[in-house]
Structures are given as structure tokens and as C-alpha cells.
């Protein structure tokens, strides 16, 4: 993965406009967040292979970055994104890694279902 540059990522987001695509959206502070610090709530959520269709959307922010994708009746949103990759399967992988290199948020778009 590489550090995000808006001018590189925005055109890739636009390649997926108006198509049925598969979404992986995740945020996590780790299964041991509360075990490691009682004051912290363990918070993890993900959706994998949600079928979505968006015809507009942007990546914004000074870095870390935010992405908002407009779907028919609502939004797909992620904040804290730091790295990106268009992988060999043509999937757009966006992720936010914390200071320790741990994944904290991921937003991924694919034309084929994720495994």
C-alpha cells in the first residue's frame, strides 16, 4: 500500500461510479481494546460483500483522509484513511493505519465478491 494522494485516488473511485460493486467496510480498535485498557470500549464493525451502487463520491481531507460515497438512499462513509492500493484484482483498497501500524479502518470496493 502507498500513502494516499487525493489526485491518485479520486479517479479510481470514479471508475466504480454507476456499477453494482461489492463493499468491505470495517472499523476496529481491536478485540483486546478493553482487555488492554478497562476505560476503552472494544468497538469493531464490518460489512463484507455488501452490494452497492454509487454514482458520486469523493475523497477529502488534509490526511488522514475521508471518503463519502453517495448511494441511492444514503451514504457510505469512512474517516481516518491513510493508505491505498489498486490491487492485482482491480480492487480499490483504502485503509487507515494507526501509529503502531494497526488497521483501524478499511474501505474496499471490488467488482467481484471478496473471498
Amino acid at each position: 500500500m502507498q500513502p494516499i494522494l487525493i489526485e491518485h485516488v479520486q479517479p479510481v473511485i470514479e471508475q466504480f461510479f454507476g456499477e453494482d460493486v461489492y463493499l468491505h467496510l470495517e472499523t476496529t480498535n481491536g478485540a483486546y481494546a478493553n482487555h488492554n485498557n478497562e476505560k476503552v470500549l472494544t468497538v469493531n464493525a464490518y460489512i463484507r460483500n455488501g452490494k452497492v451502487n454509487f454514482d458520486s463520491g469523493k475523497i477529502t481531507g488534509p490526511g488522514p483522509y475521508r471518503v463519502g460515497l453517495k448511494i441511492e438512499l444514503g451514504w457510505i462513509y469512512a474517516e481516518g484513511l491513510t493508505h491505498w492500493e489498486l490491487d492485482s484484482s482491480g480492487r480499490l483498497l483504502l485503509a487507515g493505519h494507526d501509529a503502531e501500524g494497526k488497521l483501524a479502518v478499511a474501505l474496499q470496493i471490488s467488482r467481484n465478491p471478496f473471498e
Binding site: 500500500m1 500513502p3 468491505h24 470495517e26 476496529t28 481491536g30 478485540a31 483486546y32 482487555h35 469493531n44 464490518y46 493508505h83 492500493e85 490491487d87 480492487r91 483498497l93 485503509a95 493505519h97 503502531e100 501500524g101 494497526k102 488497521l103 483501524a104 478499511a106 474496499q108 471478496f114 473471498e115
Partner: protein, 214 residues
């Protein structure tokens, strides 16, 4: 009964910190060890600085790390059950227990090692432990293998007391470290902690088990 150990954990690396030394001692003596690993640990969070992997390529890395870890401690029979990280508790417990029971009936292990239900923190650990306990509870008492459990919740000693077995693994510590290092994508911090913190090093030289009473 022939000695044969069955280890059941949900994540590649669950065996590394708490059990690897015990496994190495057993395989040194020629005791066969079978490891059922339920998931690929595909939801692991360590991606590195700069990131060396992604959410999508991590499972392949963890798969080969587990192969290497098994080699390090002499496990020759690894069975991947194909569940997905973080979802074990949502699977049908009876089906999971039946799959485990099938392996138990095939191998007739003398001892099974898993987590202690209620004291193992991660929901996948708890679900695994419960399924193992359920599977064994279906066996008649006289053919039930011993169940040795790993526990690390903060309230463990309040709830189930001190470990029944404290196994010194100093004699195979290098191999235990090889196992931990095999999972390097996820265990970097642990390797550093053991190498730099004498208290952690002392802690890692002992492995603690609670014997489950049905």
C-alpha cells in the same frame, strides 16, 4: 491409551504464547500433536509500518506463518476448519462441536488443549472453548480425554483460582520463540516484549493450564 494431544484454537498464533513450549516438549518425546485451527486470522490488525500487507492479502501470509509455526514445534497434523475470524460465536455451536467430536473420535487423544470458557477474552476463543467443552460432554465420562485450558482474562484467578499446572518450558524456549517468531506479522510487539522485558521473559518460560472439571 496412547498419548496423543489435540490442540483446538481459533486463530493462528493462539498456540504461540501460551502453549508452544508444551507442544515442543511433547513432540520431542515423540508424542503426536494435532492442531485444529478454526480460522485464518483474516481480521488481524497488524499491517506494519509502512504497511507490508492488506486486509485482503493478510490471510495468505498468516496461512504460511502457521505452517512455519507448526514446523517449529513439531506439529505434523494441522487441520484448518475454514471458519472466518470473528465469526465463530455466530456459527451453529452444535455443528462445530460435532466436527470437533469427529476428530476426537478419530484420534482418541489423551489430552485436549483449548481455552478456558469464560476466561479467554476474545469472542472466538470463548466460542471455541464452549464448543470443545460441549463436544466432550457428549462423550461418556470414562472415555473423555483430559481437558487442559488456557485462561488469561483479568478476573481469571478470582473465578477459577491458580493454574493447576505450571509447566516450565525453559528447555525448549528457543523452539517456543521460533514458533512466536513464525507469526511475525502479528507478534512483533510480543517478540520485543520478551526480549526486552525480563518479567515478560520469566512469564513466557512458564505455561499455565487449568484442568477443566466437567
Amino acid at each position: 491409551m496412547n498419548e496423543h494431544i489435540l490442540v483446538v484454537f481459533p486463530h493462528p498464533d493462539d498456540e504461540a504464547f501460551g502453549v508452544a513450549g508444551t507442544i515442543a516438549q511433547l513432540t520431542n518425546r515423540g508424542v503426536p500433536v494435532t492442531y485444529i485451527c478454526l480460522t485464518l486470522g483474516e481480521m488481524g490488525r497488524n499491517m506494519g509500518i509502512p504497511p507490508f500487507t492488506t486486509r485482503e492479502s493478510l490471510p495468505e501470509i498468516r496461512k504460511s506463518e502457521l505452517d512455519q509455526a507448526c514446523k517449529a514445534v513439531g506439529i505434523t497434523d494441522l487441520r484448518r476448519f475454514g471458519y472466518r475470524d470473528k465469526t465463530v460465536e455466530f456459527e451453529d455451536r452444535d455443528i462445530l462441536a460435532a466436527r470437533i467430536l469427529e476428530v476426537v473420535e478419530e484420534l482418541k487423544p489423551s489430552r485436549i488443549i483449548t481455552f478456558y470458557p469464560g476466561y479467554s477474552v476474545h469472542p472466538d476463543h470463548e466460542a471455541t472453548a464452549e464448543a470443545v467443552v460441549h463436544a466432550l460432554s457428549l462423550l461418556p465420562e470414562n472415555s473423555r480425554p483430559e481437558l487442559h485450558c488456557v485462561a488469561f482474562a483479568r478476573n481469571t484467578e478470582e473465578g477459577i483460582g491458580k493454574p493447576d499446572i505450571v509447566n516450565d518450558v525453559s528447555d525448549v524456549f528457543d523452539r517456543k520463540m521460533d514458533c512466536i517468531k513464525a507469526h511475525k506479522s502479528q507478534t512483533d510487539w510480543l517478540i520485543k516484549a520478551i526480549e526486552q522485558d525480563p518479567a515478560m521473559y520469566e512469564w513466557a518460560k512458564k505455561e499455565r493450564f487449568w484442568v477443566y472439571k466437567f
